[in-house]
Amino acid sequence: METLITDILVAISMGLLGAVIFSALGLVSGTDETATLAPLTLLVVLLGVPPAGVLTFFLAGAVAKHMTHAIPTTLLGIPGDTLATPLLAHATALRNLGVPHIALRKMISGAFIAAFIAVPLAVLFAVLLAPFGPAITKSAPWIFFAAALMIAYFSPGRWASVALLVPFVTIIMALQAVSLKYDARLTISYFLGIAIGPLIADLFASISPVDNKRMQRDSPRKFSLSPDVRSWSGYFPNPLKVLDGTQRKWTAITATISSATFVFSPVAMTVLMGEVVGSRVKHAYHRMTTVLAARNGVTEATYIAEALIPLIAFGLPLSPVAAGPAAPLFNAPPRFTIDAATGQVNNLHTMLSHWEFLGYGLLAVLLAALIAYPLTMNFAHRAALFVSRKLSHEAIIATFIGLIFVISIWEGGIMGFLVILTMGLMGGLLSRHFGFNTGVQFMGFYIAILTVPALLRVTGLA
């Protein structure tokens, strides 16, 4: 009993911490989910926070970020993070019509409802899949292979992404062989390199006279911040009242669908679900507001389900979110480990029961909603003004450069840094030129460590 109370207290405080940190990060555009969630979750794991606290930190962080990311997206017209990009067009149209506050309210109310739906559904789907867990764990190398092929085919690069897996995986294997020679066992350096790839690729491009010309600008970017309109009383507007019946229905349906289809990329699901909803709502105004609510709901549901389902059912990172931003929940040696050869796992999968996943999952969503929802509803305008006027892009880049150095040197010294630099440049360029996006790249890492060794063993070509 006493341990339960301690666990709950830890879960509450870690959830609050995650919600506060990631509510703030949601305001800052360019703070990619993986580049922020993965290293901070890893830190929480390695500092020895109990399993319940690790889970609430990650989930509350992800949920809060996908609420506050609506602020820059709707008020400034810049996407708050990677998952906000598919929402930008409709948010901008409503901004041009003079009602950005409507876009903002629809987005975060959609997030709120979808997040609460996604947790119990994710646990339910995981329980249904759990009987197949041992079989799936045993054939993990092949399942990862199939998942990677599918995720690659559904990425913007289509067949190019499928083909690019071959050289990409080869580079990861080569980097691993070299770093092992110097006794460096690396994981997070690969993920961070992939997530931060576009920045690294841009920095290399900016010092080349060839590319620099393309990047030059005559004048600073202009943003127009929309005025503050407040049309409700109290501190905590009811999200169910912000959405109408059609919107509640579509938010619930798309949250359910995207919870079940947990192996697809969150960006792809967000785009696809928006198209499905958009084609069924006749009036343009109603279509935009409904799609915004549903799409932002999907950004929550995909993150929750794609982290929880593989975690509960298999303990293996079998989804783009689990393989990327949520990777430290599965694999954070020495505390959380996955043995590539035997498929033996030792992580939150083995440490928390189904009921604990459900309870702490709901707690995390509740804490995120308590922090991020009223913050967004009441202080969106001031927050957007502060971030856009005080926080230069140079400062954001300085922070991420620091992150690259600290994480890579911490994990593998000079070798870690070389890996992050190489992965970042490769990944950034492949993503920009071929549509070989980060979701596929994360899966490429698991192909290199799981599938290729198994393939060599089976074929006897090692």
């Binding site: 500092l47 020895g48 030059q216 600008r217 105004y285 279509r287 400062a395 620091g402 600290v406």
Partner: protein, 157 residues
């Protein structure tokens, strides 16, 4: 600081290339120094080397934030942020034209559930859409086609 800015677009926003260079140096030096110094001292204090590494990482990440803070003080954003006072009619018209051209078209106010129509009245968009709908119908009549043709996907450009 009297030299003109050399603006380039990096990672989705504009920066000055000299400021960027300094930001990279500041970010790398401060965070790495914080991490390495912390690591060095913690190894002697904390029993397990792995935990010493984790705490050093925490301090290193603190260093990243300090570096970000210093750069925010040193380098002003290269953005022009204008506080609009309700939208320019020009933008409204452009947005309406774009919506009418989208797949699915503008749709009809008559088809809306009453609560949505009420919401549109509340935010002051009902009349705008009603006027635009009438305009489209009038144009359609003038062109001798049914108004429904406008609801079908039009080539917008």
């Amino acid at each position: 600081m009297t030299k003109p800015l050399k603006l380039i677009e990096v990672w989705g926003d504009t920066v000055d290339s000299r400021h960027l260079l300094w930001a990279i140096v500041i970010g790398a030096v401060i965070s790495l120094t914080a991490f390495l110094v912390a690591h060095h001292f913690l190894l002697g204090v904390v029993a397990q080397p792995a935990m010493a590494g984790s705490y050093a990482m925490l301090i290193g990440l603190g260093g990243c934030l300090v570096a970000g803070g210093i750069c925010a003080k040193l380098f002003a954003p290269k953005r022009v942020v204008l506080e609009e006072h309700n939208s320019d009619p020009h933008w409204r018209d452009a947005a309406m034209a774009e919506l009418a051209g989208e797949a699915g078209g503008l749709g009809k106010l008559a088809d809306l559930p009453p609560e949505v129509a009420a919401e549109m009245r509340e935010v002051g968009l009902y009349d705008l859409f009603a006027d635009y709908e009438k305009k489209l119908e009038a144009e359609a009549r003038a062109a001798g086609t049914s108004p429904a043709a406008h609801a079908s996907p039009l080539p917008s450009k």
